[in-house]
């Protein structure tokens, strides 16, 4: 235990939104990994975890206790916990870990829902806060502290070209990029323009599990994604289709009606026609809400 070690929680530094990707000599660019923001505190004896909303998450991610073996000195590191599904980070998948209350369940999910901790900053090292050091200094320390590869810990990569990285992130359907001023300090709790996020509008293939109607025609779709064998409700999408598309979709979906909701967590709402989740739709959205629903989804295509 180190005297003067800051105790959690510390509100993390957050980026401001930026509409367009850019190039800049003063910035470095990182992938914005889509998961749960977590600060890890190692005081020399124990590892505690804390999320963006300052809640304790120590119990949920027991594998990050291995930080104790990785570093010799007290540290506070900042990063994003992600879980992959079909090779890409999936927010609903990591949420299966994040909501767990019991230590037993958390321990069993370590194996079935593996996570990675994408570390991008360091706030404390040995006996000192590093928050007033410029970003590039902090990153040097971070690379020293987590020098070799130790899954689930991964130090994120830094790129010079924002436009180039954003294009690649779009191709790979990742969440977006973050631009950071090279000599900026870490401002806890600050939404600072020293960090800028540029978000991709990701496309997600969802299963259709129900619809609502206006008159006789469907006017919104209830979307779900499969997490293992369970269909998870992730929200309702009502824009993106033309009237004649809704009409033909209504006919198609009426053929697969079912009496009970196909979702594990069906919305508490009346007037829904449930369907077997055999049809899929590609849906564009801005981000995930806290409840693991899609924010402003737009239907791009019925598959």
């Amino acid at each position: 235990m180190s005297p003067g070690f800051p105790s959690p929680p510390i509100p993390p530094m957050e980026p401001v939104k930026c509409e367009k990707a850019f190039d800049s000599e003063d910035h470095i660019f990182q992938v914005k990994w889509d998961g749960v923001r977590v600060l890890a505190f190692f005081n020399g004896a124990e590892v505690t975890l804390q999320n963006r909303r300052l809640h304790d998450r120590t119990r949920q991610y027991p594998e990050l206790q291995s930080l104790r073996q990785l570093v010799k000195h007290p540290v506070i590191i900042d990063g994003e916990i992600i879980a992959l599904k079909d090779g890409n980070p999936s927010f609903p998948t990591v949420m299966r870990r994040d909501g767990v209350r019991s230590a037993n369940t958390a321990a069993s999910l370590v194996k079935t829902v593996p996570i990675s901790y994408m570390v991008f900053d360091i706030l404390y090292y040995r006996n000192n806060l590093t928050t007033d050091l410029p970003w590039y200094k902090r990153h040097e320390i971070l690379q020293d502290v987590l020098s070799a590869m130790h899954p689930p810990f991964h130090v994120v990569d830094n790129f010079t070209g924002g436009l180039e990285l954003f294009a690649q992130v779009q191709r790979m359907k990742l969440e977006g990029i973050v631009a950071k001023v090279k000599d900026s300090r870490y401002i806890p709790g600050g939404k600072s323009s020293l960090w800028k996020k540029i978000k991709n509008r990701p496309l997600l293939t969802c299963h259709i599990g129900g619809f609502t109607r206006r008159g006789t025609t469907a006017n919104s779709l209830l979307m779900g994604i499969f997490e293992q064998d369970r269909l998870l409700y992730i929200g309702r999408a009502g824009s993106g289709l033309r009237e004649e598309q809704w009409e033909s979709l209504t006919r198609v979906l009426s053929g697969v009606k079912t009496s009970s909701p196909p979702f594990e967590n069906p919305p508490q709402q009346t007037g829904i026609t449930w369907v077997k989740p055999v049809y899929q739709a590609a849906v564009e959205y801005t981000e995930w809400t806290e409840k693991t629903h899609l924010r402003s989804p737009v239907i791009k295509q019925i598959l």
Binding site: I28, V31, P62, E63, Q65, S66, Q69, L70, V71, K72, H73, I82, L84, G87, N88, A103, N104, A107, S108, V110, K111, P114, S116, M118, Q143, D144, V145, L146, S147, A148, M149, H150, P151, P152, H154, V156, D157, N158, F159, T160, G161, E164, L165, Q168, V169, M172
Partner: protein, 270 residues
């Protein structure tokens, strides 16, 4: 804490509304039986070996075995017909001195809380019992069973101990106990008494812990922790690396990945 039932504490002509709470709880570590091969919790079925079928609860009745293999059947109505003077009450019969009641008789402990309008008579009884130093012997019905009980004052609450009836307490007549033929020297006796005096303290329940349960819990925690350590599945970890590699291949990095100077030595950062 949820009350077990609401009823009345009868004391002469007074009837005090009370709520009954269980005062103690077992904290044993619970285990489930698993099928070793697939780790599925084992299910229990009620089966009839004669008809060779699984039974529904509605097909099951109570039987009293009065002779080996011979039963009389009791139905719900039969049970309902048994005359019980008090279905939800604690009827005080007498008051006695606590030290006259052997702890052997005590079974389970309950707290009594005054119900609506019961506060004053409750306090009156409590204070009167405190002043006289007596405890009450009562007849109580909990669920469908009648038992004997002792009601006593503990701090500011009335505590009820259900008691075994005398015919439920076994006799020690069959045990081989030391008789009068054994001689004990005065010095031996003095030694034993002084040992007792040396070990005498005030009773402080907090100083006693269940060491077995503690050790068991520690072992379970260690096993859970052990599962964490053996984990770090190769494939998914590699996937993140793949993803990071794919990005690196197509986009320029700020610098060449740093030489991993310390990995050769320990593989651990400083």
């Amino acid at each position: 804490m949820r009350s077990l039932w609401k009823g009345f504490l009868g004391f002469g002509l007074v009837s005090i509304p009370v709520k009954l709470y269980v005062a103690t709880e077992k904290k044993d570590v619970k285990f489930r039986y698993l099928h070793q091969a697939c780790m599925t919790p084992v299910q229990y079925q009620k089966r009839c070996p004669t008809c060779n079928k699984e039974l529904d609860n509605s097909e099951i009745v109570y039987g009293y075995e009065y002779q080996k293999g011979r039963f009389v059947v009791l139905s719900e109505e039969d049970f309902a017909r048994i005359p019980l003077p008090s279905t939800r009450s604690v009827e005080i019969l007498n008051f006695v001195d606590l030290n006259q009641v052997d702890p052997l008789y005590f079974d389970k402990s309950y707290y009594l809380e005054p119900g609506d309008g019961g506060s004053k008579p409750y306090l009156l009884l409590l204070q009167a019992m405190e002043a006289t130093g007596k405890i009450a012997i009562a007849r109580v019905v909990i669920r469908t069973k009648e038992s004997l009980a002792a009601v006593r004052v503990k701090d500011r609450v009335l505590v009820m101990e259900t008691m075994f009836f005398p015919d439920e307490v076994r006799s020690y007549a069959g045990l081989e106990l030391p008789g009068d033929n054994i001689q004990i020297h005065e010095n031996e006796s003095k030694m034993a008494i002084s040992l007792i005096e040396n070990l005498t303290t005030d009773f402080d329940p907090d100083q006693y812990q269940n060491r077995y349960r503690q050790a068991l819990r520690e072992m379970i925690e260690a096993k859970i922790a052990g599962q964490e350590v053996e984990v770090s599945p190769e494939a998914p970890a590699a996937n993140v690396v793949d993803l990071m590699e794919a990005l690196k291949q197509s986009v320029k990095m700020t610098e060449k990945p740093r030489k991993r100077k310390r990995t050769a030595k320990t593989g651990v950062g400083t």
